[in-house]
């Protein structure tokens, strides 16, 4: 027999559920708070504007300008999304609308394998394949001399890395659209492409935005593979062939070293805070668009 009667068991389990929920729900706030406290030293002594928009990064002489890192992160992320977004959308439409179901069953494991590859492996692949490819072919093609370690290399590696994540969501999004909607459009005399373009993509739009939002957040935070190919030079990149530096790479490269420099640790924590804030921002923007869409169209 049980130690407690069923009403008591109900109460105990109920309490545990609440405790777990509170724990999960409070984690982001605790993270924010922790990072804020850790970077307080820096924020307290400097203007927020100076920190975010100054280009000079000389921790030894107390100059902390995060602008090159922020710009580097944004370039790499946006370029990666620019490459992967259309590829993912077209692939998702093709495998869900134009092929037999069996094909999707083969695709899924392939995508999952791609998603499961450790990022350091992607980094190595970037160094061995992408970097020389850019320095030998792409650079000369545009008449640019480059070592290959560049924003472009990071973006290419990153775009391959986020494809499985975005693609998996997109496939799910398109699969949940009822086939009757497709039938309705076709029966009105639309071609398959017109159906895809005017009906299915429209119907899927909130899901597509969400998929891209997740991809963006992931790309923005990706550390290892990017730091291996981006060049890690603190300088404002003038073109995609220039090397750059990203926020996650800054933290990963320096944390644990040079902590004897005053405020250095605070500065790295501040970089982490920016990362978190930007992810949060992406998330809010995404939800804003989805809500708006659900309210005013569809």
């Amino acid at each position: 027999m049980y130690l407690l009667n069923r009403i008591q068991r109900h109460r105990v389990n109920y309490t545990w559920m609440i405790v777990s929920l509170l724990l999960v729900a409070s984690l982001p706030f605790l993270l924010f708070l922790g990072l804020y406290l850790k970077s307080f030293l820096l924020i307290h002594d400097y203007h927020l504007g100076d920190l975010l928009f100054s280009k000079v990064w000389k921790p030894g002489s107390g100059k902390f300008g995060f602008y090159p890192f922020i710009v580097g992160s944004i370039w790499v992320t946006l370029l990666a999304m620019l490459i992967s977004a259309p590829i993912c959308l077209l692939t998702a439409i093709y495998v869900t609308q134009y092929t037999r179901k069996r094909f999707l069953r083969i695709m899924h494991p392939a995508i999952d394998i791609l998603a499961g590859i450790p990022s350091v492996v992607y980094g190595v692949w970037g160094i061995l394949v992408i970097v020389p490819f850019i320095s030998r072919f792409v650079g000369p093609l545009f008449g640019v001399q480059t070592l290959g370690y560049s924003i472009l290399a990071a973006a290419l590696v990153l775009s391959v890395m986020v494809i499985p994540f975005i693609l998996n969501i997109l496939i799910e999004v398109f699969r949940t659209i009822p086939v009757e909607l497709k039938e309705a459009s076709l029966s009105l005399g639309a071609t398959q492409w017109q159906t895809v373009k005017s009906v299915l993509v429209k119907k899927a739009l909130p899901g597509i935005i969400a998929a891209y939002g997740f991809g963006l957040a992931r790309a923005f935070g990706e550390t290892m593979a990017v730091l291996m190919v981006v060049g890690n030079v603190v300088k404002l990149p003038k073109s995609v062939f220039d090397p750059g530096y990203t926020l996650p790479a800054l933290i990963a490269n320096n944390y644990g070293e040079m902590l004897s420099i005053p405020k250095y640790e605070s500065a790295l924590m501040f970089a982490a805070l920016i990362l978190l804030a930007v992810s949060l921002f992406f998330n809010l923007v995404m939800h804003f668009f989805i809500d708006r869409y659900n309210k005013f169209s569809a």
Binding site: R100, K101, P178, V179, E180, L181, K182, E183, A184, S185, L186, S187, L188, G189, A190, T191, Q194, S198, V199, K202, K203, F296, S297, A298
Partner: protein, 253 residues
């Protein structure tokens, strides 16, 4: 006077892998009449309907053989023309699936596909078809709202208007009232009786009373076969086959 045949189905067979879903179907669907396809769930009624405008294309696992003749064209061998052929047939499905756009654009979508371009003309026709489906008074002030905000009954009327807007000759309806309340259902039924003057209607249903109320012709199907077909008086009043008698008498098993 003998009614003229609008849809002529000959030796239609549909296979899904090794399973045969439709077995040697031969039907004549008369013009300007309501033909009801009757039968228990899973007997192939919906598949038969989908063969008529070849929505079977969406299910690559299906293999379709035979002939579905509409206006002397075999739908099954139409190739690219199927896009145009489908516009001869409006489709009304079990539940309304409004297109993910405004009420206005739900109607305008088909019109634009038909080549209506001028704004004023477009608007005139949208109004006309919404009126024809008795929806205009309810939506005239909310044409720019998403269609998903309408009630289910209104959505089904919108789908009817949308189907009529491409100016079809045939209406294919697949249990169009099964998700609706009695009043909306009655409304659709009355509309069908009114519409048969201008259209040929094929209605799939398993509601016997509905069939009796509005059918001119009845096709009774069971397990992928046509068991019996004829006028509503023949099939309901004097069924020849044992299976039909059982189904109509409610002693089916």
């Amino acid at each position: 006077m003998e009614p003229t045949t609008k849809i002529h189905i000959e030796n239609l067979n549909v296979y899904a892998g090794k399973q045969q879903i439709l077995k040697n179907i031969n039907i004549e669907i008369p013009k300007n009449k309501i033909t009801v396809i009757l039968g228990p769930s899973g007997c192939g009624k919906t598949t038969l309907l989908k063969c008529m405008n070849r929505l079977t294309d969406l299910y690559p696992e299906l293999k379709v053989t035979g002939k579905v003749m509409i206006n002397d064209k075999n739908v099954l061998e139409a190739g690219e023309d199927i896009v145009k052929l489908r516009q001869y047939m409006g489709l009304l499905s079990q539940r309304p699936y409004p297109l993910p756009m405004t009420i206005y654009n739900n109607i305008a979508f088909g019109l634009k596909l038909k080549g209506v371009k001028k704004r004023r003309n477009l608007h005139k026709q949208v109004v006309r078809y919404l009126q024809q489906a008795n929806l205009w008074d309810e939506v005239k002030n909310r044409l720019r709202e998403p269609a998903s905000r309408l009630s289910i009954g209104q959505q089904q009327r919108l789908c009817l208007a949308r189907g009529l807007a491409v100016n079809p000759e045939i209406i294919l309806a697949d249990e169009p009232t099964s998700a609706l309340d009695p009043i909306s259902s009655q409304y659709i039924e009355e509309k069908f009786v009114e519409l048969k003057n201008d259209y040929t209607i094929v209605l799939v249903t398993h509601v016997l009373r509905q069939a009796r109320r509005i059918a001119d012709f009845v096709v009774f199907m069971y397990l992928g076969e046509v068991i019996e077909q004829g006028t509503v008086e023949e099939v309901f009043g004097n069924p020849k086959m044992e299976k039909t008698k059982q189904y109509l008498g409610g002693t089916f098993n």
